[in-house]
C-alpha cells in the first residue's frame, strides 16, 4: 500500500496536479483496493477506511453541489 501510494503521489505530482481532493480520492481508492487484495488482519474497526470514505463522500457531495448550483 505504501508503494502504491508513493507511485500515485509521484505520478500526480509529475503531472502537475494541484487539487488536494484528487490526491485524497486516489489515496482512498488505493487504500480500499489494497485492503480488498491483501485482506490484512486488524485489531479493531477499520477507522482509516471509515474516515477516508466519509471524506470521499464529502468531496463528491461538494462537486455535485457545484454542478447542480
Amino acid at each position: 500500500m505504501a508503494g502504491a501510494m508513493m507511485v500515485t503521489l509521484v505520478g500526480l505530482s509529475a503531472l502537475g496536479e494541484a487539487r488536494l481532493e484528487v490526491y485524497y480520492s486516489l489515496f482512498t481508492v488505493v487504500y480500499f483496493a489494497c485492503s480488498a487484495l491483501f485482506r490484512p488482519r486488524r485489531r479493531w474497526l477499520d477507522v482509516p477506511g471509515g474516515v477516508l470514505f466519509l471524506g470521499f463522500c464529502y468531496i463528491v457531495a461538494v462537486k455535485v453541489i457545484e454542478i447542480i448550483g
Binding site: 501510494m5 508513493m6 503521489l9 486488524r42 482509516p48
Partner: protein, 242 residues
Amino acid sequence: MSSIDRYTRAGVVLLVFGGPFAAFSYWVLGDVTFTSVGLASLILGATALLVPSRAVPGESVRALVEAAAVNVEALLEEFDVTGGGVYLPPRDGRVYCFVPLGEGLFEVGLAGFNGVPLRVVTRVGGVDCLMVFPPGGEVVRLAGLGEESGVEDALAYVLVDFLEMVEGVRAVERGDRVVVELMRPRVDTGFARFRMCLGSVSASVAGCVLAWVLGEPVAFMGEDVDGGRVTASFRVVRAGQE
C-alpha cells in the same frame, strides 16, 4: 518491561510525522504535494496501528495447539483407537468428538447422541467410543460462528481469517459427503493417531466447523495430502444410513 511491536512503532512514527507535516504544508507552505505526503503518512500510520505484528499464528499458538493434540494423542494411543471420529454439533457451546473403539461406525444420527453422558468412555447406539475434546472445539466457540453460516463461508472465516491456519479453503457438498480442500496449512502435528482418527489439525478444525454449521454429527472419513494441499473427506451421519 513492555515492548511495542514494530507495526505500532511504525504507526506512531508515521502519525506523529504525518499530522503536523500535512498541517504545516497546507496552511503555511500552501503546497499540495507536501500536504499529500503528510496525508499518505497519516493513512499509512493509522493502518499500521491497526495491523497486528504477527499475522500467522506464532510459535506460542502452535505450541498450545500441539499441547492440546498431545493429550488427545495420548488418549487415543492408550485405547489403541484407529477409527475415524465423529464430530458432534455443539453441546454447552462446545464441539466434542466421539471416536469408536473398534471398527464400528455410528449409524444412530443426532438423536442417538443426544443425552449421551459426556464421559471419557461411553456407549452410543451400541458402540463403545472414546470422547475427546478436539482443539478446534474451543476455536469454533471463540470465533463466534453463527449456526446459519454457509459451509464454505464458515470454514474460510475460521481457518483463514480467524486462525490463519491455512491460506485458502474450498468445500464441496454432495449428498451426505463433504469434501474440504485446505490450501497450504501452516500448523500441523506429527501425531499419527491424531491424524488417523481426527485428521490433521486443520482438518480437525474443519470437522468442528462442519458439525457446528450443519447441526449434525460429521464423521471424519480420511484425508489425502498432495504437496501443499490437504483434501479431507467427511460424512454427515444420519440415522438409518448404510
